[in-house]
C-alpha cells in the first residue's frame, strides 16, 4: 500500500508539463515586463536564452527585463493569443499558427518580411528507433513493413504534428516523382495510408507521443530531430534515422503588434526577436538540437547535422495554404486516410 502511494506521488510529480500561465511579475520602476507566448518545444532552450537576453539588455540599456512565460502546444497558444492572451512576442511551431494571430488582427505587420523570413529555428522530420535499431529501420519504406509499430501524433489535435504527416506525404510524392517523373498525389496518399496502417498510437501532441515512446510503446517514432536530440542529450538511448526524403521544419516568431503597443514594450520585444536570431542565441538553439537559420552558425554546426539528399520544404507541397486545403481540410486527405476511404 505504501509502495503504491509512493508510486503515485512519483508519477504525479512527473506528469505532463503543465501549462504555465505567466507567473506574477516582480516588475519595479524602470523594469520592463515582456510576456512570451511560446510553443512548448522551445521551453528548455529558453531556460538558457532568457537569462542571456536579460544580461544583454541590461548591458545595452541598463533596464531589467522581467519575463512572463507561457508554454503551450503551438495551436493552443495561437488560439490563446488570438483570443486575447496579451503576449508581446509569439514563438510558434508553424506559419499557420502565426497566421491565426494575424487573422485575428493582433499582428499587423508582415512578419515574413523580417530577417530570415521571420524564422528563428529549423529542424527536420526524422525517425527515432530503440537503441541499436533492432528492427533495422532505414527509411520510410520500412515503416510499412508488417510488425513494425509506428508512433506519430494526431495532426488534428497538434498543429506541430502536421510537419510529421507532411513529411510522409511529401516523401510519397518524391518517391512517385523518382519513379515516374511526376508527382502523384494518389500514390502519396497510398504511401501515407500504408504507414498509418502500422500506427500503434495517435497521441494528442508531439510531447505525448514522445512520452508514449519512452514508456516502451512502438518501434519507431516519427518526430522532430530536435526533440530526439534533446532526449538523447538527457541520456536516453535512441537511434536517429534520417530518411532520404524528408521535410525541413521552419519555426517562426513575431512581435504581436497590438499587445506591444498597449504595453509600450515594442522596443524590447523587437530586440528580443532579433536577439533570437543572433549568433549567440543561435548557438544555444543548436546546443538544444535545432538547426540554425544563421548561415555562419549553420556552417559551424554542419558536422552535427547531416542534410538528407531529398530534403524538401513546405513549398514542395505547394505552401501552407495549399497543404491546409488538400491535407487537413474537413474531407481532406488526412480525413480520408483515417476513415479509410
Amino acid at each position: 500500500m505504501l509502495l503504491l502511494a509512493l508510486l503515485l506521488l512519483i508519477t504525479a510529480g512527473c506528469g505532463k508539463e503543465q501549462s504555465s500561465q505567466p507567473a506574477e511579475s516582480t516588475a519595479q520602476n524602470g523594469d520592463v515586463t515582456l510576456v512570451i507566448g511560446a510553443y512548448s518545444v522551445v521551453k528548455d532552450a529558453f531556460s538558457e536564452l532568457l537569462p542571456q537576453f536579460q544580461t544583454y539588455w541590461k548591458e545595452q540599456t541598463g533596464q531589467k527585463v522581467v519575463f512572463q512565460e507561457s508554454y503551450e502546444a503551438s495551436g493552443t497558444q495561437a488560439r490563446a493569443i488570438a483570443g486575447g492572451f496579451e503576449a508581446d512576442v509569439a514563438i510558434l511551431a508553424m506559419e499557420g499558427d502565426l497566421d491565426k494571430i494575424s487573422d485575428a488582427g493582433f499582428i499587423t505587420h508582415d512578419w515574413k518580411s523580417q530577417p530570415n523570413q521571420g524564422l528563428i529555428t529549423k529542424s527536420i522530420v526524422v525517425l527515432g528507433t530503440r537503441a541499436g535499431n533492432p528492427k533495422g529501420i532505414k527509411d520510410w519504406d520500412d515503416l510499412t513493413r508488417k510488425g513494425v509499430k509506428v508512433l506519430y501524433p494526431n495532426p488534428k489535435t497538434s498543429g506541430g504534428a502536421q510537419w510529421d504527416i507532411n513529411a510522409i506525404y511529401g516523401a510519397g510524392l518524391k518517391k512517385s516523382e523518382e519513379e515516374t517523373g511526376t508527382k502523384d498525389p494518389a500514390f502519396a496518399k497510398k504511401y501515407l495510408e500504408s504507414i498509418h496502417h502500422n500506427v500503434e498510437s495517435l497521441d494528442k501532441s508531439g510531447r505525448a507521443s514522445m512520452a508514449a515512446f519512452e514508456y516502451g510503446v512502438g518501434d519507431v517514432i516519427v518526430t522532430y530531430e530536435n526533440e530526439l536530440l534533446a532526449r538523447i542529450m538527457n541520456g536516453v538511448k535512441y537511434d536517429i534515422v534520417i530518411p532520404k526524403n524528408t521535410i525541413l521544419i521552419e519555426n517562426p516568431a513575431s512581435v504581436v503588434d497590438k499587445n506591444v503597443d498597449k504595453h509600450g514594450t515594442r522596443k524590447v520585444a523587437e530586440a528580443f526577436i532579433s536577439y533570437l536570431q543572433s549568433e549567440e542565441a543561435q548557438r544555444t538553439f543548436v546546443k538544444y538540437g535545432f538547426r540554425s537559420v544563421d548561415g555562419k552558425v549553420a556552417e559551424e554546426s554542419k558536422d552535427k547535422y547531416t542534410v538528407p539528399e531529398g530534403l524538401f520544404d513546405i513549398s514542395y507541397l505547394g505552401g501552407w495554404k495549399e497543404v491546409r486545403q488538400t491535407l487537413y481540410s474537413k474531407k481532406g486527405i488526412w480525413y480520408q486516410v483515417l476513415a479509410g476511404i
Binding site: 493552443t76 500506427v199 495517435l202 494528442k204 508514449a212 514508456y215 516502451g216 483515417l338 476513415a339
Partner: protein
C-alpha cells in the same frame, strides 16, 4: 397567521434560489451545447453526426462503457456486500479507499495504468506473451473506465444493504429456504434499485471519461478513439460545432438513460 405568511415566503424564496442555481449551473450550459450544435443549421449538424469517424467513436464508447459497467456491477455489488456483511481487519480502511478514484485526477489514473500495465511492466509482458496488448488497445480503455467509475455501484448498494431487515432474512431461513434462495428472493430484490442506479451513474460517467483514456488509448479512429477524445480533437481543430454535435449525441443518450432509470424506480411499489 403571520407565521404562516412568513414561512410561505420563505419557502418560495428558497425554491426560487434553488431553481436559479440549477438553471445557471446546469440548464444553461446544456442549452448552450444544444444550440451550438445546430448553430450552422441542421445540415452541418447532420453531417457532423453522420461522419463515420464520429459515430464509430460513439459506438465504441458505448460498447466499452457497457463492458465497464457490467464489470462494475459484478465487482461493485460483491465489494459492497463484503464491506457491509463481513467484519475483518482493515475493513474500515478499505471502505474509505473506495472513494479514492473520485479524488485522483484522471490523468494520474492514466499514467498509473501506463506504468503498471504498459510494455516493460510485469503484467504487460505477460499479456504480450499471451498474444494481446493491454495499453493503447481497448482493454486499457475498459480498465480506465472501470477504475474511474468504481465507487458508484458500491456506494449505491451499501445503504440498501444496511437497511435490510435482518428478520426477513431470518424468517426465510426458518421457513427452510437455502442460502442461495434467500439471497435471490429476499436480499437481492432490495439491493436491485441500488445496483441499477449505481450502474447507470457509472455508465454515464464512463461515457464521458477523458483524462485517463486519452493517455492509455491509441486514439486511432475506428479502433481506439472514444467519443470524448474525438470531441477534444474537433475542438482543437477549431470545429466547435462538430464537437457540440457529438456531445449532443452523448448528452441525449445519458439523459434518456437517467430518465428511464428514474421512471423504473418511481414505478417500484413501496418506493
Amino acid at each position: 397567521m403571520n407565521v404562516m405568511f412568513r414561512s410561505k415566503w420563505w419557502s418560495f424564496g428558497f425554491r426560487s434560489a434553488i431553481m436559479l442555481y440549477f438553471i445557471v449551473l446546469i440548464v444553461l450550459p446544456i442549452i448552450g451545447i444544444y444550440s451550438q450544435s445546430v448553430s450552422r443549421g441542421f445540415v452541418p449538424f447532420w453531417e457532423s453526426i453522420s461522419d463515420p469517424l464520429a459515430w464509430k467513436a460513439v459506438l465504441l464508447t458505448i460498447k466499452l462503457a457497457l463492458i465497464a459497467t457490467v464489470i462494475n456491477v459484478l465487482i461493485g455489488t460483491m465489494s459492497g456486500w463484503v464491506l457491509i456483511r463481513y467484519r475483518f481487519p482493515g475493513r474500515r480502511i478499505l471502505n474509505s479507499l473506495v472513494d479514492l478514484p473520485f479524488a485522483l485526477p484522471t490523468a494520474v489514473t492514466g499514467l498509473m495504468i501506463l506504468l503498471l500495465l504498459g510494455p516493460g511492466s510485469l503484467v504487460g509482458e505477460l499479456a504480450e506473451k499471451l498474444g494481446f496488448t493491454i495499453v493503447f488497445h481497448q482493454p486499457a480503455i475498459v480498465i480506465a473506465m472501470v477504475f474511474v467509475t468504481f465507487p458508484f455501484v458500491i456506494r449505491a448498494v451499501q445503504p440498501l444493504l444496511e437497511e435490510i431487515d435482518k428478520s426477513e432474512e431470518e424468517a426465510a431461513y426458518t421457513m427452510g429456504a437455502t442460502k442461495f434462495r434467500t439471497f435471490f428472493t429476499v436480499i437481492y430484490p432490495s439491493m436491485l434499485p441500488g445496483v441499477i442506479s449505481g450502474a447507470m451513474l457509472a455508465f454515464s460517467r464512463a461515457l464521458a471519461e477523458f483524462g485517463a483514456v486519452v493517455l492509455v488509448a491509441g486514439n486511432i479512429p475506428g479502433k481506439t478513439l472514444i467519443a470524448a477524445v474525438y470531441i477534444f480533437g474537433e475542438i482543437e481543430s477549431d470545429n466547435a460545432q462538430g464537437a457540440a454535435a457529438v456531445s449532443v449525441m452523448l448528452l441525449t443518450l445519458s439523459f434518456i438513460i437517467l430518465w428511464t432509470v428514474n421512471l423504473i424506480q418511481a414505478r417500484r411499489p413501496g418506493k
